[in-house]
């Protein structure tokens, strides 16, 4: 069997259910692959891991991947199981926010570590400075959890539809107390959780073949997970080394994830790609990428895998 190491972007959770399902259900084995899944964490940069040779494939958000490309690390998107973005800004209604026009003068929690690009782009489209003051917004680097919103340290925080939002709800705030701004709806959505490999590796036909099989098995896993959310969540829980996840949360997450993967067969939609690039190029004073990248994606793998 061929060895493949996959580096996740975050800790083991239903966000990555497809891969765990493929592993658990033997889909990888059927393709004669021996797959190792490495969970990530708050300070694991997948791009760095693949550069160091610690992984064959990584999951990453497209803004980070394109930024890495500009830094000279040639990442190529080979598959895109996530059709839509799950990122949104969740605000408390009691701060008086009813729409993006009310952001001025407020404190907003944002994830950095490469996740800040769509946000910065959005703010620059809204014409809001991120330097604070009455005319701009005060940005705070949000940690791993939703505390800033609960503690009223921020008016809004970044959340994922499938994760942090529900943590806010679990903490006791009601959906009626909250107002959310999905990046999809704001027109600043960027592609999340694509599979990336190094361009130079793709030159090797053996590697390419390995990836074809990997993508095929992974997509099989994803579709299985979409259809069997409860069992998929169970598989994720079994694979969580920390034993910290709860079933309730993972089942719910799986349900939300299924909404994001729905509509993707794994192949990158070029229109989505172009929209992401456009969003990033409009990134204001400190743009993520300075020019439209070339060669940042390929359909070669998915074409072979999905035929």
């Amino acid at each position: 069997a061929d060895d493949v190491t996959l580096q996740l972007k975050w800790v083991t959770q239903a966000q990555f259910a497809g891969y765990y399902v493929a592993l658990d259900k033997g889909f990888y084995e059927e393709e004669d692959l021996n797959v190792t899944i490495k969970p990530g964490g708050p300070d694991v940069a997948p791009a760095q891991v693949i550069a160091g040779g610690g992984a064959d494939v990584v999951l990453d958000w497209m803004p980070s991947a394109l930024a890495s490309r500009e830094k000279g690390l040639n990442l190529v998107n080979i598959a895109q199981p996530f059709k839509s973005s799950g990122m949104m800004l969740t605000c408390r209604k009691d701060t008086g926010i009813t729409g993006p026009e009310d952001f001025a003068g407020k404190t907003l929690g944002v994830w950095f570590f490469g996740n800040e690009y769509p946000f910065l782009s959005w703010m620059s489209q809204l014409g809001l400075s991120t330097e604070g003051g009455d005319a701009g917004v005060t940005v705070l680097k949000q940690g791993f959890n939703v505390d800033p919103l609960l503690q009223e340290q921020a008016a809004c925080i970044s959340t994922m539809t499938y994760n942090e939002y529900w943590q806010v709800i679990d903490a006791g705030l009601d959906a009626d107390d909250l107002i959310t701004f999905k990046y999809e709806d704001m027109g600043v959505a960027t592609l999340e959780d694509g599979m990336y490999v190094l361009e130079e590796n793709l030159a090797d036909p053996a590697f390419e073949d390995k990836m074809v099989r990997f993508v095929r098995a992974s997509m099989k896993g994803w579709k299985w997970a979409e259809e069997n959310p409860a069992e998929a969540a169970e598989i994720v829980l079994d694979n969580d080394a920390t034993g910290a996840q709860t079933e309730k949360h993972q089942v719910r997450m799986m349900g939300e994830i299924a909404k994001l993967t729905a509509g993707s067969n794994g192949a990158l939609d070029v229109a989505d790609y172009e929209r992401t690039v456009q969003t990033l190029l409009k990134g204001g004073s400190d743009p993520v990428i300075t020019a439209a990248p070339t060669g940042a994606w390929t359909h070669a793998i998915t074409d072979a895998a999905l035929k």
Binding site: V11, D43, A45, G52, L150, G172, L173, T242, G243, H249
Partner: protein, 287 residues
Amino acid sequence: MKSIFPILTVVAAIFALWYVFAVVLNAPWAYSKAERAEVELSFSEMVADTMAQEKPRLPAPHQVGAEIWKTTVEKKITSKRSLIYHGWITLQATALGFAFGIGLGILLAVSIVHFRVMDMSVMPWIIASQTVPILAIAPMIVVVLAALQVDDIVAKGVISMYLSFFPVVVGMVKGLRSPDTMLLDQMKTYSASSSQTFWKLRLPASAPYLFASLKVGAAASLIGAVVAELSLSQNGGLGARLLAGSYYGQTIQIWSALLAAATLAALMVFVLGAIEKVTLKRMGMAQ
């Protein structure tokens, strides 16, 4: 044994303070919940609520205690939800890192004591090395070591070593230099070789210093292992547990992982203290 009672008193005082803080820190959430539900909270209802929140700002001691009980006694130790399981994983990395740290520390100390060049050129940089925030470079170390096909546990050990070798170097240098001039001169009158001086004088003389710094180093290597597990969470461990808890705002879980880590450190210090006592007694250095 004399100190059991004072320790218990202090611990009791800390628990009392802890409860007070738990009430004070958790009260705002209790009130805001009540406000949204549009009910009035009496003081005792408020206190009761602060003792039983799911994600309190500061969990009450009994909540942490119950969680620890649940995750140690009531879980099989092979379960991923058992703190003992995670503690064991962390302990392994700690032990490895500690062993590396002792080795590197003693090696450096011996060469610093024997070679002036080492003393002058390396010592300032050893101090500087400790001002580098380990949490910042831990992920990079992990990536680089993974690239070199090094086992994960060894990578954790290396990070843990980074923190633990320092106290060992400092203590050992002090210890190896602790024999006064007279004792060294005496060796000279015997025309002892420098290895004889090392084995018969410097090394035994450094024993008390070594133990003192080993205790500090043990705690440091545990911190190192926990930090490493933040970047290398796939195998579990108390650090991964801490991270997961903090990611989901599970304060009770954070505190129980924290207490488990501190207990682990205390255990190691205790064991080292016992070894120290026996060794020094056999060496005749403890009255």
